[in-house]
C-alpha cells in the first residue's frame, strides 16, 4: 500500500529544479575520536517520509539528534525550509521529535503532556484546548486525556507521544524508532496509522529505524547508513531491486551473493563468470567496471525458479544442485540448494498450490535453478 502510494506521488527528488525542504550539508559529528556521523549530505523534500535505516551504532540516531538540536555538529550545516538552523537551540527549531522511550512527562496527564508544547508558545488557553482535543481525537486517545502515562499501555503511550510531537504542527517531525516498543501485530497496524496521519497533516517525517520491513512500509525514500555514512538513498523499490553495494544488498532482505569475473561488458548487458556458481550470469544491465574486474552478483531468493527439468535458456543463468534443506513457512517455502562446488543457494517459492499433494520437490532431489536476466544485480563494491 505504502509503496503504491509512493509511486503514485510526485517524486521531487528526481526533479533537479525542486528545492529540498531539509538540506543537510557535509555534516560530521565526532565524539572524541569516534566519528558517529561522517560527512553526510542529504536532501529531504516536503511531505516525504524519509527513513534512516541501519544497524545499531551506524549513526542514524546521532544524525537525528543533530537535526533536533540536541547535539551540536562537529562540522557541516542543516537548513530547514531555507533557514540555517545549525546553531539554533532545540527550543527554537521548527522541529519536533518523538523519542524512542516516548519521554512522556510522568507527573502530567495525557492532556497536559500534549498541551505542554503549546503552553511554551503562549498559545491562548482556548486554542490550546481545541488543538489538544483535535490531535487527541486524531490518535484516538481523547477518552484517556485525564490519565497519567503510567496508567497507559505501550501502544497508548506511543500515540500520546505522537500527538505531543504533532500538536505544534512542526515543519519537520523526527521519529526515533517510533514502533520499536510495540509488538508485531500492533506495529504493523500502527505503521499504516502513521502513514495516514502523515498524509492528513502533510508534515515531513524523518524516521530512524533498524527494521528494514518498517522502513519499506513507511518510507517514500530510504537512506541506508553504515559506519556514520549514508551508503545509498532511494525509494524502497530502488533500494531492494537495485542495491548499489554488497552492504545494501545484504542488509535489505536476504540475498545470494556470488563473486565473479566480468567476461563480457556490453552497454545493455554483461556476463559474469562465477566459480562460486559454477556457471555464467547473464545480467541485463550495463556496468561501469573494467573488463575482467572482480564483481559481485546479488540474486534475491524469490527471483530464482526451482524445477526438476533442465530449463531451455541457452546455458547462462542456470545451475544444477541438490536440495539440502526445505523450510515450509505456510505462505512460502525456503529451499537451500547445494551446488556442485558446495555453495548453498537460498531459494524461496510462494506456495501457490497446496503443498500436501504429492509430486513436490523433496530433500536430496537433484534440481535446476534458473532466473531471468533482469533478476541479478551486479555490484562493484
Amino acid at each position: 500500500m505504502a509503496n503504491a502510494r509512493a509511486e503514485q506521488r510526485s517524486e521531487p527528488w528526481k526533479d533537479p529544479g525542486a528545492t529540498p525542504y531539509v538540506r543537510i550539508e557535509r555534516l560530521t559529528k565526532k565524539f572524541g575520536d569516534f566519528v558517529a556521523v561522517d560527512d553526510v549530505s542529504l536532501s529531504i523534500y516536503r511531505g516525504e517520509i524519509f527513513c534512516l535505516l541501519g544497524g545499531s551504532g551506524c549513526g542514524k540516531t546521532t544524525l537525528l539528534r543533530v537535526m533536533a538540536g540536541f547535539e551540536p555538529p562537529t562540522s557541516g550545516s542543516i537548513w530547514i525550509d531555507g533557514v540555517d538552523v545549525t546553531a539554533m537551540p532545540p527550543y527554537e527549531r521548527p522541529v519536533n521529535m518523538m523519542f524512542q522511550s516516548y519521554a512522556l512527562f510522568p507527573h502530567m496527564t495525557v492532556e497536559q503532556n500534549v498541551a505542554f508544547g503549546l503552553r511554551q508558545d503562549k498559545v491562548p488557553k482556548r486554542e490550546i484546548a481545541e488543538r489538544v482535543a483535535e490531535i487527541l481525537g486524531l490518535v484516538r486517545m481523547r477518552q484517556f486525556a485525564g490519565r497519567k502515562p503510567h496508567q497507559l499501555s505501550g501502544g497508548q503511550r506511543q500515540r500520546v507521544a505522537l500527538a505531543r510531537s504533532l500538536v505544534k504542527r512542526p515543519k519537520l517531525l523526527l521519529l526515533d524508532e517510533p514502533l520499536a516498543a510495540l509488538d508485531k501485530k500492533l506495529r504493523e497496524h500502527t505503521q499504516f496509522e502513521l502513514i495516514n496521519i502523515q498524509e492528513t497533516l502533510g508534515v515531513t517525517f524523518v524516521v530512524v529505524t533498524h527494521d528494514q520491513e518498517e522502513a519499506m512500509t513507511l518510507a517514500s525514500r530510504i537512506g541506508v547508513m553504515n559506519h556514520g555514512e549514508i551508503i545509498q538513498v532511494g525509494t524502497p523499490t530502488e533500494i531492494y531491486e537495485y542495491p548499489g553495494s554488497r552492504f545494501v544488498a545484504d542488509f535489505i532482505g536476504s540475498v545470494n551473493m556470488f563473486e565473479g569475473r566480468l567476461i563480457e561488458d556490453e552497454p545493455d548487458y554483461v556476463r559474469v563468470e562465477s566459480a562460486d556458481l559454477g556457471g555464467v550470469f547473464h545480467v541485463g544491465h550495463g556496468v561501469s567496471a573494467a573488463p575482467n574486474a572482480i564483481v559481485w552478483v546479488a540474486l534475491r531468493p524469490e527471483k530464482i525458479h526451482i524445477s526438476r527439468e533442465r530449463p531451455e535458456n541457452g546455458g547462462d543463468n542456470r545451475v544444477a544442485g541438490i536440495v539440502a534443506e526445505i523450510a515450509y513457512l505456510g505462505d512460502q517455502s525456503i529451499y537451500l540448494v547445494r551446488l556442485a562446488g558446495g555453495r548453498m543457494v537460498r531459494v524461496t517459492q510462494p506456495n501457490i498450490v497446496r503443498q500436501d499433494s504429492g509430486g513436490r520437490i523433496t530433500w536430496e532431489e537433484p534440481v535446476w535453478l534458473s532466473w531471468d536476466s533482469s533478476s541479478p544485480v551486479v555490484v562493484t563494491q
Binding site: P90, Y91, S101, A103, F105, P106, F116
Partner: protein, 333 residues
C-alpha cells in the same frame, strides 16, 4: 539445612524422644515457623516486628516517661518531680495531672519566642541548604560516572570526624582573632576584626555546614534518577532551560527536595550544640532552653513539657513529608 541437622542432633534429656524425632523431621526453619505460627505469627511478621520492638522500647517507652514527667510537679529531691500516682490510703489512689507546665509554656513569652526562633532558624537554614545543596547535587548527578563516587565521598567525608569537633573548629575560624579575621587584617582589607562568633550568622553557618550533606544526598538520589530525555523532550517542545527546570526537574525531584528539607529542618529545630557554641546569648533556640531547664533550673517537668511541645511541633512537618512521599511513590511507581 546441613547446619540445621547438626543442631538437631544435640538431643536434650528434657525433650521427649518422639518430639525430638518430630523436630528432626521438620528441620529447624520449619520448626521455627511452626512455633511462630503457634503464637499466631508468620515469619514475615517476626522479621518486621524487630524494628517495631526497637521503637517501642527506645522511643515510645521513653516518650511516655517524658510525657509523665511533663504533667507532674517539680519538687526538691530525687527524682526531682512528684509521682503521678500516689497511694493516699489503702483504698484511695491519687492521680495528679498537672497541666500547669503547658500553661506556663504558653504564657511565658520566652518559650514562645524560643519556639518561633527555632522554627525560623531551622526554616532559613533549610532554605539555605536547599539553595546550596541543589546545585551541588545536580552537579554531582550530572558529573561523569567515574567522578560521581568521589564527589559523593567528599560530601560524606565530614561525617568521619566528630560533629562536636567540627563545630568547635568553626570557633577557631570565626573568632575575633581567628583564621578569617587574622587573614583579612593581614592583607589589609579590614582595620578591626569583624564580629562573627556569637552572632546569628555563626549559627546559620554552623547549621548549614553541618546539615548540608543531609540535603545533598537525597537530592542527588532524586536528580540522578531523572530521565534526561524528559528534559530533551521539553526543549524539543519549545521550553527554555530555566522553564524546563521549573516545570520538569523540580516536580520530578520533589521527593528528594522534601526528604532533604525534612532531614535538615527536623534536627535543626531541636539543635542545641551549634547555637550553644556559636550563637550569642540572645540566640534563643528551643534546644538550648530545654537544656537550661534541665540542667540549670533542674525543672524536669517544665523541661519535659518543652520536649513534648517540640515533638508535637515536628510531627506536623513529618506528616507532610509522608503525605508527599506517598503521592510521589504512587505517581511514579
Amino acid at each position: 539445612m546441613k547446619r540445621g541437622r547438626t543442631g538437631n542432633r544435640r538431643s536434650s534429656p528434657f525433650v521427649q524422644p518422639e518430639l525430638m524425632a518430630w523436630m528432626r523431621a521438620l528441620g529447624p526453619y520449619r520448626w521455627a515457623s511452626v512455633c511462630l505460627r503457634a503464637w499466631g505469627m508468620t515469619g514475615r511478621a517476626a522479621v518486621t516486628s524487630v524494628p517495631y520492638l526497637w521503637l517501642l522500647l527506645f522511643f515510645l517507652v521513653p516518650f511516655l516517661i517524658v510525657l509523665k514527667i511533663s504533667v507532674s510537679d517539680i519538687r526538691l529531691g530525687m527524682p526531682p518531680y512528684e509521682p503521678l500516682i500516689t497511694w493516699v490510703s489503702a483504698q484511695v489512689v491519687e492521680f495528679r495531672l498537672n497541666l500547669a507546665n503547658y500553661a506556663f509554656l504558653w504564657e511565658d513569652a520566652l518559650y514562645r519566642h524560643a519556639y518561633l526562633n527555632s522554627l525560623l532558624t531551622a526554616g532559613v537554614s533549610t532554605l539555605l541548604c536547599l539553595l546550596i545543596g541543589y546545585p551541588m547535587a545536580y552537579g554531582i548527578a550530572r558529573a561523569k560516572p567515574s567522578w560521581r563516587n568521589l564527589l559523593l565521598l567528599l560530601v560524606m567525608l565530614p561525617f568521619w570526624t566528630s560533629f562536636l569537633l567540627r563545630v568547635y573548629a568553626w570557633i577557631g575560624i570565626l573568632k575575633n582573632n581567628g583564621l578569617i579575621n587574622n587573614l583579612l587584617l593581614a592583607i589589609g582589607v579590614i582595620d578591626e576584626p569583624i564580629v562573627m562568633l556569637q552572632t546569628d550568622f555563626a549559627v546559620y553557618l554552623g547549621i548549614v555546614y553541618s546539615y548540608l550533606p543531609f540535603m545533598v544526598l537525597p537530592l542527588y538520589t532524586a536528580i540522578e534518577k531523572l530521565d534526561l530525555s524528559l528534559l530533551e523532550a521539553a526543549a524539543d517542545l519549545g521550553c527554555r532551560p530555566v522553564r524546563a527546570f521549573l516545570a520538569i526537574t523540580v516536580p520530578l525531584t520533589m521527593t528528594g527536595i522534601v526528604a532533604g528539607c525534612m532531614l535538615v529542618f527536623i534536627p535543626a529545630v531541636g539543635e542545641f550544640v551549634i547555637p550553644a557554641l556559636l550563637g550569642g546569648p540572645d540566640s534563643l533556640m528551643i534546644g538550648r532552653v530545654l537544656w537550661e531547664e534541665f540542667f540549670n533550673n533542674r525543672d524536669w517537668p517544665v523541661a519535659s513539657s518543652v520536649a513534648i511541645a517540640m515533638l508535637l511541633l515536628l510531627v506536623i512537618p513529618i506528616m507532610i513529608l509522608q503525605r508527599v512521599q506517598g503521592q510521589q511513590m504512587w505517581a511514579h511507581r
